[in-house]
């Protein structure tokens, strides 16, 4: 533990960090440079494939299997992590730099008790007597609001909740008072309230222990809550660095702007602006700017050579030859989202629905109406029963009682018992794009499947319909005869939407269909669905846990808490003036892009 009293220069300095594949020497991350001041938290933001997580672990001198750190330096205090070898780097990890993993359940050893694992955080680095060790453990656990009782210490990770597990991981990371903490998407998979508490804990601890932190995430609002400075990554490089507030209000790089305008907001119902196409894969990086193929501001010189990361007026750094002008506020129009006409008729009616899952009650006394032609969102955290509800609606889950009426006709419990006509008119889309398409069939074959079952068409007629649907979901003809494993998650979800639409349904039940997607891809899908809904007069039931997306796409919302409806009504009313404490809590805990007050000290960039 070195002291750094009034030394000029940042506490952490990363220069030209490059990580490549061992076998092919293909770079995954290239020329990454940034600095972190003492007690500052910097956000490292990017979508999947950007390399942000690779950078995160590289800060500990670590490269995942098949990768090696080939260039650059990571200076923490006086020590360059990348020059350490063997025992030295082992000592530095945990003591100088520590790490909080994305999935705490996976990060904690299932065979070790909690006490053992926390104690190990110390014993690996320092020799402490029993009494002193116990005291340090106590203090540490108190700092993350966990008990230090014998019972707790003797428990195993699987006996703790997700939030508790993550707090243990955070405690372990802070144990030896490191100079730098790397947090790798630490709140993924946690519900909104737990996430808020974790973010607060992280802020407190960073302050108390005077540590610097790098917060890796794809979740922009969460980053806004903890980081005073933010770096945006795209295709293995940093494309913009700026003070967080400045970045979010005045992004200079077109990609940063794209990300911000794709992010939904719970405060206003705007059109989301996604980014078409996909980022280049390692080994396929283009000659010029990596973002050029998708950039609305692209010009000829962008294609010739990769721009350098250079300082701009206003204090940001951006890797762009034609950055967005400073006061332009992102240069993308923010338009209000169009809403469908009120039809005043009910498509689906649910009454007194009770459902259970292998004996345990999951839904209690559910009753609501889904207006025709509108989008009704069903919101809840994990365990609220929202997916079960969606499955009951389409008959995928059959152990329920009560009544579900579709256009006045009562529906049977299981899909197998329902009328073919009813089944055709109500279609379901799954959450996971990687599992919902048959991997042994091509895209068009997947889309044609429901046609085979519901309609009697000739082979060429079926293919025509399938190709037509591809167009509707904005996928070019080159996707037609490709296997699903060749296309990205967002594209697969579009195929799934196409498959649902090809039989001309009236109701679409969408089960968390954007939860597994990057924010820019989610925006594309949401807007596409909105357009389709308006064009075809579809009724949508949209399941999600994300209140911001609800604002963007739904006209009505139903809030579920552990199996019961706690609040329901028009989206504007519920989100602007929530009545139930649970709804209020959800909205309060939701991270937003405009936090109340800045959460860290100086607003300096670079």
């Amino acid at each position: 533990m070195s002291e750094l009293n009034g030394t000029a220069g940042p506490a952490v300095e990363v220069k030209d960090l490059t990580v490549q594949m061992i076998s092919s020497k293909v770079p995954i991350v290239s020329g990454v440079s940034f600095t972190v001041d003492e007690q500052q938290t910097i956000g490292l933001v990017g979508e999947s494939g950007s390399g942000k997580s690779t950078v995160g672990v590289a800060l500990l001198g670590f490269a995942r299997r098949g990768l090696e750190i080939s260039a650059g330096s990571v200076r923490v205090g006086d020590v360059d992590m990348l020059t350490l070898k063997g025992d030295e780097i082992r000592k530095a990890r945990g003591r100088l730099v520590s790490y909080v993993p994305q999935d705490p359940a996976a990060g904690l050893n299932p065979a070790h008790r909690i006490g053992t694992q926390v104690r190990e955080a110390f014993s690996v680095h320092e020799k402490l007597g029993k009494g002193e060790l116990a005291e340090r453990v106590s203090d540490l656990l108190a700092g993350v609001n966990l008990p230090d009782s014998k019972q707790f210490l003797r428990s195993y990770p699987h006996q703790l909740s997700g939030g508790q597990q993550q707090r243990v991981a955070i405690a372990i990371a802070f144990a030896c008072r490191p100079r730098l903490i790397v947090l790798d998407e630490p709140t993924t998979g946690l519900d909104v309230t737990t996430q808020r508490r974790i973010l607060e804990t992280i802020n407190e601890l960073a302050r108390d222990y005077r540590a610097s932190a790098v917060y890796v995430s794809h979740d922009l609002p969460a980053v806004a809550e903890v980081a005073s400075k933010t770096a945006v990554m795209y295709a293995g490089r940093i494309v913009e660095v700026a003070a967080t507030k400045k970045l979010f209000n005045e992004p200079r790089h077109p990609y940063s702007a794209g990300l911000l305008h794709a992010a939904p907001s719970a405060a206003e119902a705007n059109r989301l602006v996604g980014i078409e196409g996909r980022p280049p894969r390692p080994g396929h990086w283009p000659q010029g700017c990596a973002y050029a193929p998708r950039c609305p501001r692209v010009q000829d010189d962008c294609l010739r050579a990769m721009p350098e990361l250079r300082p701009l007026d206003g204090g940001s750094l951006a890797r762009c030859l034609h950055p967005i002008p400073a006061a332009a506020g992102g240069a993308i129009q923010v338009t209000a989202a169009p809403t469908p006409q009120r039809l005043d008729s009910t498509a689906l009616q649910v009454e007194a629905l009770f459902a259970d899952y292998s004996g345990k009650g999951v839904l209690r006394e559910i009753g609501f109406a889904v207006p025709r032609g509108e989008c009704t969102a069903i919101v809840g955290e994990s365990g609220s029963g929202k997916t079960t509800l969606a499955r009951c609606l389409v008959g995928l889950h059959s152990s329920w009682q009560g009544a579900i009426r579709f256009e006045g006709e009562e529906l049977r419990r299981a899909a197998a018992e329902r009328d073919r006509n009813q089944l055709q008119r109500m279609q379901y889309i799954f959450q996971n794009p990687f599992g919902s398409l048959n991997p042994t069939m091509t895209v068009t074959e997947n889309i044609e499947e429901p046609l085979r079952h519901f309609e009697s068409l000739s082979r060429s007629e079926r293919r025509q319909r399938a190709l037509g649907i591809l167009e509707t979901v904005h996928l070019g003809q080159e996707f037609a005869d490709v296997l699903p494993n060749r296309i990205s998650g967002g594209e697969r979800q579009r195929v799934a939407v196409g498959r649902a639409l090809v039989v001309d349904p009236e109701v679409l039940v969408c089960d968390e269909i954007t939860s597994a997607l990057d924010v820019s891809v989610q925006a594309l899908l949401v807007e596409q669905l909105r357009d389709l809904q308006l064009q075809r007069g579809l009724t949508m039931v949209f399941i999600t846990h994300n209140l911001a997306v609800v604002r963007s796409i739904a006209q009505n919302v139903i809030v579920l808490q552990t199996g019961s409806i706690v609040e329901a009504g028009p989206v504007d009313r519920v989100l602007d003036d929530p009545q139930h404490p649970y709804t209020r809590q959800l909205l309060e805990d939701l991270p937003t892009l405009e936090p109340g007050e800045p959460t860290a000290t100086a607003d300096s960039a670079g």
């Binding site: 672990v57 500990l60 670590f62 995942r64 299997r65 025992d87 082992r90 000592k91 530095a92 990890r93 945990g94 003591r95 520590s98 790490y99 993993p101 999935d103 996976a106 990060g107 904690l108 050893n109 299932p110 065979a111 070790h112 008790r113 190990e120 955080a121 690996v124 680095h125 108190a142 609001n145 966990l146 008990p147 009782s149 019972q151 707790f152 428990s155 195993y156 699987h158 006996q159 703790l160 909740s161 508790q164 991981a169 372990i172 508490r197």
Partner: protein, 356 residues
């Protein structure tokens, strides 16, 4: 957050279930033993039915089938009476089963029927005695092979995982692939050729003993049979151990331990190995099961006086009661082994041992 609040899993369960099932829920080990034992009993019963059916019911007139076409009618009648073949099937089975539970499997039929090529068969001794005098040798054989192959397999497997993709690992994987594919009687033959007759003559090619003697009295006759079994079984142990260790070493928690600064040895033995134990234990169990079947051919080749050879002799001599007894013994062994394995796995898997 309310400091001091413990997670739900640690509070006493306020369950509305009955006392007995609640007690079982809180003692997963006992519950498992009870459940598996009941299932195991059922399995043994089912196997007994299959055994009985296969050996006496299905072949039509079992007595003629057993004695062959050359038997005199008088002998056939006698055998029929002895096996109770005149009575209805269910009665027969019931009598047989009740006798079996009291460990009376009847007498060996081999007296007076065609002899096998090697070994002696007893005249009308109780089957249980016949098996009893030989089973000790088989146990020694299986135990020796099991212990050696487990230790060898564990050490090589852990090391290969530790130094993944190294020379030892690559060579080891190839050797294990070849060795585990070889049929065990071919391996036994090679052992005989190599060590007993043609290349070296260190060990005897045959392991005949005086009737009733224990193999431990002449251990040099144990070496080659054990070697043959070890060669076939160790590669599987190696591969599974290696696989389990690699999976543990690739896990997130090992990565996290590395981030904490744990050393490689600590990682391998404190972090990875405890999590690799469940599959390893299961493999050891599977190996034992395999060995129980593998001894048949190996004992036949070495004329090793164990129950494998006895089974072969009984088959050749159509000695139905002996066949029945041995198969049922093996079944009981299988069931008991499964229970033990499952309990051990439970003990080393905290997630199942201490449910939420």
């Amino acid at each position: 957050m309310e400091a001091g609040q413990i997670s739900p899993g640690l509070e006493p369960k306020a369950s509305g279930r009955g006392g007995f099932s609640r007690a079982l829920a809180e003692r997963p080990i006992t519950a498992m033993i009870v459940r598996r034992s009941l299932l195991g009993l059922l399995t043994i019963v089912m196997i007994a039915i299959i055994v009985y059916a296969a050996t006496t019911v299905i072949p039509g007139d079992a007595a003629t089938a057993i004695l062959g076409n050359t038997a005199t009618p008088g002998r056939v009648e006698k055998l029929r009476a002895e096996l109770g073949l005149d009575e209805p099937v269910l009665t027969r089975f019931w009598n047989w089963a009740t006798d079996a539970i009291q460990l009376d499997f009847g007498n060996s039929l081999s007296g007076g029927v065609a002899q096998t090529q090697v070994g002696q068969t007893a005249e009308s001794t109780p089957v249980t005695a016949l098996v009893g005098e030989r089973i000790g040798n088989s146990v020694v054989l299986v135990a020796a092979a099991a212990i050696i192959s487990t230790i060898l397999g564990l050490i090589t497997g852990v090391y290969a995982a530790y130094r993944r993709d190294g020379f030892f690992d690559t060579v080891g994987s190839v050797i294990s692939l070849v060795a585990s594919a070889l049929p065990e009687f071919v391996v036994a033959i090679f052992c005989v050729l190599l060590f007993a007759t043609s290349v070296f003559t260190w060990f005897p090619a045959i392991s005949v003993l005086a009737p009733g003697a224990s193999i431990l009295s002449e251990p040099e006759k144990l070496v080659l049979p054990v070697l043959a079994l070890v060669i076939v079984v160790t590669p599987y142990m190696f591969r599974m151990t290696r696989g389990a260790m690699i999976e543990a070493l690739d896990s997130d928690y090992v990565e996290f331990a590395r981030m904490k600064g744990a050393s490689t040895t600590q990682i391998a033995f404190r972090h990875a190995l405890p999590n690799a134990l469940p599959p390893i234990i299961q493999v050891v169990g599977l190996n034992l099961l395999f060995l129980a079947g593998g001894i048949v051919l190996v004992e036949a080749i070495f004329t090793f006086p164990g129950i494998g050879l006895l089974l072969v002799e009984a088959i050749n001599g159509r000695d139905v009661p002996t066949i029945q007894y041995i198969v049922i013994l093996l079944a009981v062994f299988y069931v008991a082994l499964n229970i033990v394995t499952d309990v051990l796995v439970l003990l080393v898997t905290p997630r199942r041992r201490y449910p939420r």
